[in-house]
Symmetry: D2
């Protein structure tokens, strides 16, 4: 159950610390450091204060704090021996049930990273697909130490902002939700394309597809619910498949036995987890176009 | 080595029949029937005359002729016990090396078809992908006998036209070649997109892709050679993959870590094996369109 | 001031007739005929009842009623000698201040029409541009009498529905409003195009343009207000001009001295006055597309 | 009649100078200066040598040469008192028959320019529309003297290259011809749009249109001849009008009384007179797109 910001602003210091002590992994001192800055006008201001406390702390404190984080998909995660929030975050990406080969690769990456930087690889896993997490891992191992320390603290910012948004209610909530939507226009008849079957896939490392959503357009050519919403989008690669051949056949358009367009596939990337992505399809039986819309 | 139409027009009847006796499977009587109609002005006229001879023959002759054809992917094909032309035609589609499961399905279809119609399923396999051949098989089993007899003779027409085009040279060659091409336009810079990597895939029964061609665009945004040409196209479903993200990155356009467009996929069908299909891509890093061009 | 439907339902019969007597031109008998059918649940039901009263009346009554209408842009209109509603409706289209040449043409059309059908040409001028009204006039003179009587009563339906919507408030108001909107997408940067200058023109008989609206897009690439709304659209031909060259230059895109695209013009027609028309522009400095959207 | 390069290479010096003395306005010394450099392998090399002779001459010689040019649309042009080539070049743009107001404006520009730079405004009028010439005039008056001297010599290069291409034949002719073409695709039927009426307009200073070409597409959706070719294109603004409503109606597509698309207008600019411009239209009755093609 989230606690209200008002309550936290008025609560005795120990209660405040108890409530927010786990937002920063194994680091109740971050909550302690901002206790005296209360009251906070907004949840966003509270988060900013906590981040500033980390950034203002001595280098060895920061490193110690980073070291308190579990390895990504590491032994601790397999054994379930990590903070509750970390557990569910890693599980959301399937990092707690890797194949042995993937686990071995993670182990190699974790070892190489920790040897180079002296702290574990930290990434906000709720903002990326598994492929993107691994790509990031590989890329960041190439950083120099200063850049990487900064990158790690940046990810801490994303992680704790999401945890805070889950834990506290009140004015000025940080905007942590992205939005993916679509829209199908039928330019053969000059009207929205209703009742078009749509499947949204996430694209995996070897190009394999995992269906995230199966839906149909309504009379306005849109979906009743956004395709993805309610939290950050996972940066990564996706595919939308539109069964446009069936749509035209159902409306009496005579298509060849092998239709020129049958299942139309739009492959696209999401880069900004808190962004708005609108990916429309404008189609006839013989042509289509798409673009990043709004 | 093809023989010239002039030579065939002037040759003694037995030589003419010997040369063309196998164009119609195990049916030298078709060549015999048109011997006296020589000279033929064009190869197309020769083919039309032979087809007319079949269509004008008594029903039992036609059925007997159809019965002379091997089962598609049947025991005879596995054992190599069919006419040379049939052998290479079926092999072109991999029908001589089916998995046991696929072989069993073919057996079931062949049995069902032959029981219903009294002759084997005949299809011009050089004009279809394997998926399209099987789809056709399933569909045609639903025909009534008159429609199906007509369909079978139509396929005979396609088969023998191709065999004749291989065997004879001369004026008025039938047009048996289709054509698939593409063209990439870069609407970010307003110019043809050169050096774009392109892969053409055939789409299999379970959606699996088989690469048919890997190429790159030239300075005009076209490929030096058509993607497919020189013979009939195989009716079926295809995919073109354009590595457009790499193209824009190489030209210094700054793309996000997860580009909105990276590999663009156009999935399309070919219905007319002798048709011209032009499938262009007009793209920016944020939009693209395609259409059946010319 | 509109009167509420509740009030009209409860009012004494003479008050009801006084309030609605002029909805049908010089024909208070229509209101009288439906007095006893009160109460009406919706304004739409009231309108339907009044139309039914006209359609159910004897042929000579109907013709008499039609004859009570003024000539379009006729002497009476010039002299101001017509019902108030007719006056402002005709003035809205500039039919009260025609050039002499146009007035003469109208006179010829009115004479030809009245001679053929025995009643004046009636059209709901609030639903068409002047060009479309004249095109309709010319077309309808070619009708046979039955078709034309029906066409005239159909237009009476549109005219009185609009008058009723102005005069009465209450549940179930008829939907008399169309909607025209636009949206500019910048596919060079992958974002909505804000601050684009847009002019909407009506296209006249000789292709001349009359500016109806000058506006700019907001940060979402849309206009704060719809381009047209609040009443029926006028069926006719329009142009939208987008100053897209200026837009790209302002954002630092280097364009040639003579830009490939500078002012983009979309010419389109509106056919359904109560329809929703969305006419988006998806553009780069080198390409654009539009479609009837939703 | 053009003279062959071979002939000029072998001719006595006086004949060479006589033949090319007027290529550079009133400046036979340019031809004289390159006589001894013969033989020239290509016409392009001959032109380059002549330009180099001008660029290598002392400043006062260059200025004197520039002063030998007539005012653009000036008194001399009105009186016909200029070199034959200049006369037809200026006439091609209608600069010899300006309205009095336009003539007065030209006079003001010429006076202002000559006062500032000490030589008349020189522009290759065969490479620009009248609007573009005037825009250039206004823009170049803002240059500093060095930049403007360079601009004037650049225009001399264009003028003399065209004169040389007219006067001499031989290997290595300079490429002075641009190319404008179009192509209409019907994405409703998935085929080229044949027999579409097309008009090409030049856009004037007040937006007025001058029809340059009226044509129709052939079965391939292209025009038999390019829209413009055979010489430099005039940099400026143009419009292509496609009667696409008629096209679809003729093919039995039922359109509304006020078609959404009837005459489609593409307004575009040409910047590179020697460039290739392909401006295709991909259309349905409800959508269209265009792009700079190739």
């Amino acid at each position: 159950m989230p606690i209200s910001l008002d309550h936290l602003n008025a609560a005795p210091a120990p209660e405040f610390v108890a409530a927010l002590g786990e937002i920063f992994e194994h680091a109740p001192w971050v909550a302690e450091a901002v206790t005296s800055q209360r009251p906070f006008a907004t949840v966003t201001a509270l988060h900013a204060a906590m981040i500033n406390a980390v950034r203002a702390s001595p280098a060895e404190t920061q490193i110690g704090f980073l070291r308190g984080h579990p390895d990504l998909a590491g032994k601790a995660a397999r054994a379930g021996d990590i903070a509750e929030a970390s557990k569910s975050e890693q599980a959301g990406l399937g990092l707690d049930r890797l194949s042995d080969a993937d686990y071995d690769e993670m182990l190699r990456l974790n070892t190489a990273y920790t040897e180079k930087f002296g702290f574990p690889f930290i990434v906000c896993v709720r903002r990326k697909t598994r492929v993107a997490v691994i790509a990031d891992f590989v890329r960041r191992i190439g950083n120099d130490r200063t850049a990487e320390l900064n990158a790690a603290l940046g990810e801490i910012g994303y992680i704790t902002r999401l945890r805070l948004a889950d834990a506290v209610t009140g004015p000025g909530m940080p905007d942590v939700a992205g939005h993916l939507s679509t829209h199908v226009l039928d330019s053969y008849h000059g009207q929205p394309a209703g009742d078009v079957a749509i499947t949204l896939f996430e694209i995996g490392r070897e190009g394999e597809r995992t269906a995230l959503k199966v839906t149909r357009t309504n009379d306005n050519g849109r979906t009743d619910e956004p395709l993805l919403h309610g939290g950050p989008l996972r940066a990564g690669q996706y595919e939308l498949l539109f069964e446009i051949g069936d749509y035209f056949r159902t409306r009496g358009v005579k298509l060849p036995d092998q239709p020129f367009l049958d299942d139309v596939v739009l492959r696209f990337g999401i880069d900004a987890p808190e962004g708005r992505y609108h990916v429309p399809l404008v189609a006839t039986p013989w042509s289509y176009s798409t673009y990043r819309g709004s």
